[in-house]
């Protein structure tokens, strides 16, 4: 018995030895192969991969996160990447406890560049950046002071200023609404710009400002919009991510009940024209574009070329075409559009400096 067991053990050791030996050989071979010919073969591995973590709004929030994801998809298509490892991918966060782990998971899957989308991810990106010092990270809407993090900010106030001008020129009731998500600096920039834009046209216009306290509660957006519209507001600008979808559904309901109702919504982040469709008409006046997609693509391209702007902050304003208004598709008449363009020109020329905070 003992002899047989010994024999078994011996053969297993031998087997393990040969297997491990094979492993060692393979490991040695690979680096030789790659150093031998850097240009030919191995193209699969030299591809640049990029991924992002959404905040709790989710990748289909029809605004901020979605815009970022579209940018990454576009980058992937342009460079012939596929969704998944070594290409491009995203992870969705269900609560703020997930930010850290999601970022970490993507870094561990060896993505060359990992984006944290949104102000709420500031701490998580900071932590991961200090732990995984070899990783390249990027954050949108916040500044993280680490050598391996590229920060991207937008001048939301400039785009919102134009949205405010458009709303002030289009309102009939002289009452305009603003629905914000959480009261964080980013959204306050939206509010400040919007208020300044309205006041620039007509200081007597009343703006009803409401914060819902969440980016993912469409039902809250709907009740807030309901209150605003029934108090005589005719145009609502929302900066509330998924919560804003409730603003759209409320406006669409009003329009369905009464096709002559004068109700409008100004969308945010992406062109939200599709959200406002009611039969043949549309309640989307325009959208304040925040080209997260362009920022994401630019940054990915820079990193791919080896010029990753780690430790730097890039700011996208009206001049850089990082913010602006979407095509209104006829909702705003030509003469009004011309007026809006004049205001835009003033900002570009530096004549008007839009405030970042509400005074």
């Amino acid at each position: 018995m003992t002899k047989r067991k010994f024999g078994l053990a011996l053969s297993m050791v031998l087997a393990a030895g040969t297997i491990l030996g094979a492993c060692g050989a393979a490991e040695e071979e690979t680096p030789e192969g790659t150093t031998g010919d850097t240009t030919g073969g191995e193209t699969e591995e030299s591809k640049f991969s990029v991924a992002m973590v959404t905040d709790i709004g989710g990748v289909d929030d029809k605004s901020f996160n979605q815009s970022a994801w579209e940018g990454i998809e576009k980058f992937g298509e342009d460079n012939g990447l596929e969704k998944g490892d070594g290409g491009y991918d995203y992870l969705q966060s269900k609560s703020d406890a997930d930010y850290n782990t999601n970022l970490n998971k993507l870094v561990r899957r060896d993505f060359d560049l990992v984006f944290g989308i949104g102000f709420l991810m500031e701490d998580a990106v900071n932590t991961i950046a200090s732990q995984q010092t070899d990783a390249q990270l990027a954050i949108i809407d916040a500044v993280v002071d680490q050598p391996n993090v590229a920060s991207v900010l937008f001048k939301e106030q400039e785009g919102s200023y134009l949205a405010g001008v458009a709303a002030a020129l289009m309102t009939k009731s002289k009452k305009i609404g603003f629905v914000g998500g959480m009261e964080i600096p980013v959204i306050e920039r939206f509010e400040a710009g919007f208020l300044a834009g309205v006041a620039a046209v007509d200081p007597s216009i009343v703006v009803d400002v409401q914060y819902t306290g969440a980016f993912d509660k469409a039902e809250l957006g709907k009740t807030t919009a309901n209150r605003m519209y029934s108090s005589g507001v005719d145009i609502i600008f929302h900066a509330a991510g998924g919560t804003g979808n409730g603003v759209f559904s409320e406006a669409k309901e009003l329009k369905t009940k009464d096709p002559d109702a004068y109700v409008w919504v100004i969308g945010v982040d992406s062109d939200q024209y599709e959200e406002g469709k009611v039969g043949d008409t549309n309640i989307t006046l325009t959208s304040m574009l925040k080209r997260v997609d362009i920022a994401v693509q630019n940054l990915s391209n820079l990193a791919m070329e080896g010029n990753f702007p780690g430790g730097e902050t890039t700011v996208y304003g009206l001049v850089e075409e990082g913010v602006g208004l979407a095509d209104s598709r006829g909702a705003i008449p030509e003469d009004v559009l011309a007026q809006i363009d004049e205001y835009a020109k003033k900002i570009v020329d530096g004549e008007v400096v839009v405030p970042e905070t509400v005074e």
């Binding site: 998944g84 999601n102 998971k105 701490d123 964080i184 993912d216």
Partner: protein, 348 residues
């Protein structure tokens, strides 16, 4: 069939059934169940980092489960664990930020602050129940909202209108370089030791003290306890206070361990509500709560790996996790079935 075999068989069958139905859901929606479950498994035990994060996730679940279980043993439904957790979270973080003390004093002080805040949040419904017979379910649910928005307002007040208080001082932190390095930078912290100590404490209170005996008696039959000369009102208040302490400590785990700060919340954390399920899965016993919390925490954390590694959408994952927990919770039906099967065989 002997009782012992049934006792082991029931949870095993329920988990297998849950996994099977979950697999069917994945198949029907066009995903590979084997890949899905492999991702779930790897998400929990895949590497040292995952294990660290899983334990991190289990920690507040244990305490939230204890909170619900303790009140439940005294005949009270504490639905307010969520709110007590939130005030505990804020209190611990506030102490962690506002004071500068040596670690020996600072850390215990922050933990005590969380416990005290949770206790206060449990005391109010306890008092209302004892004095005015206001049902604790209603009061605790409402206290959740008060806690959420009060904490949000306080965070703003403390941080000059910001949405985040910034990090606590290192002297108040439960996190440890040692555990982090050991688990490849997971957020595992010393809180798990506190949670386990509390499990022991609850067992001691319930099984080894007069107080525990009285609490259980009140839970079983209020009138009989009163007739036996126990002060029912005092026991109701005490039960809610102790329950609140456990819940407040769960908040301290988040404040001092996982996050190291408190931020404005858009909604509830969900840990307190999940605590109800954890307590019921664990039959409201201290040891059972550990198992309940482990199951809940592992599934919740492991599930985040399913979209990551197997490309299964978030929504399907939520359904699968819900199904598994559902089957585990409906163990009674399976027990009935197993016992009947056993009887039939004996009859033959």
């Amino acid at each position: 069939m002997s009782n012992r075999i049934v006792n082991i068989l029931v949870p095993v069958i329920s988990v297998i059934l849950g996994l099977l139905v979950g697999a069917i859901v994945m198949l029907v929606s066009g995903y590979n169940p084997i890949e899905g479950y492999a991702a779930l498994w790897n998400g929990i035990f895949g590497d040292i980092y995952s294990i660290g994060e899983t334990i991190r996730q289990i920690t507040p679940y244990i305490l939230a489960g204890l909170a619900v279980a303790f009140a439940f043993r005294s005949g009270l439904f504490n639905i307010g664990v969520e709110g007590q957790l939130i005030v505990g979270w804020f209190a611990a973080a506030y102490v962690g930020i506002a004071f500068e003390l040596p670690k020996m004093i600072h850390l215990p002080l922050a933990i005590l602050a969380a416990a005290a805040a949770g206790a206060l949040w449990g005391f109010i419904p306890g008092l209302l129940k004892a004095k005015f017979k206001v049902h604790e379910v209603i009061v605790t649910i409402m206290m959740n909202y008060i806690a959420l928005h009060t904490s949000n307002a306080l965070v703003r007040a403390v941080s000059d209108g910001d949405a985040n208080t910034g990090s606590i001082h290192q002297t108040a932190s439960l996190s440890s370089r040692f555990l982090e390095n050991m688990t490849d930078f997971s957020r595992l912290h010393f809180g798990i030791l506190i949670a386990l100590a509390m499990v022991l404490l609850m067992w001691l209170i319930l099984e080894k003290t007069t107080l525990g005996f009285e609490l259980k008696a009140v839970g079983l039959n209020q009138h009989a306890s009163e007739y036996a000369g126990m002060n029912v009102n005092k026991n109701i208040i005490l039960a809610m206070v102790i329950s609140g302490v456990f819940a407040g400590l769960a908040g301290a785990m988040e404040a001092l361990g996982t996050f190291g700060f408190v931020s404005v919340k858009g909604g509830f954390t969900g840990i307190g509500f999940d605590g109800i399920a954890v307590a019921l899965l664990g039959a409201s016993t201290p040891l059972g709560v550990i198992f309940g919390a482990t199951l809940f925490g592992s599934l919740k954390y492991g599930a985040t790996n399913m979209p990551n590694a197997a490309d299964i959408p978030e929504e399907i994952v939520s359904i699968i996790i819900a199904i598994i927990i559902f089957f585990v919770a409906s163990g009674y039906v399976i027990r009935l079935f197993v016992e009947r099967l056993g009887k039939k065989k004996e009859a033959k």
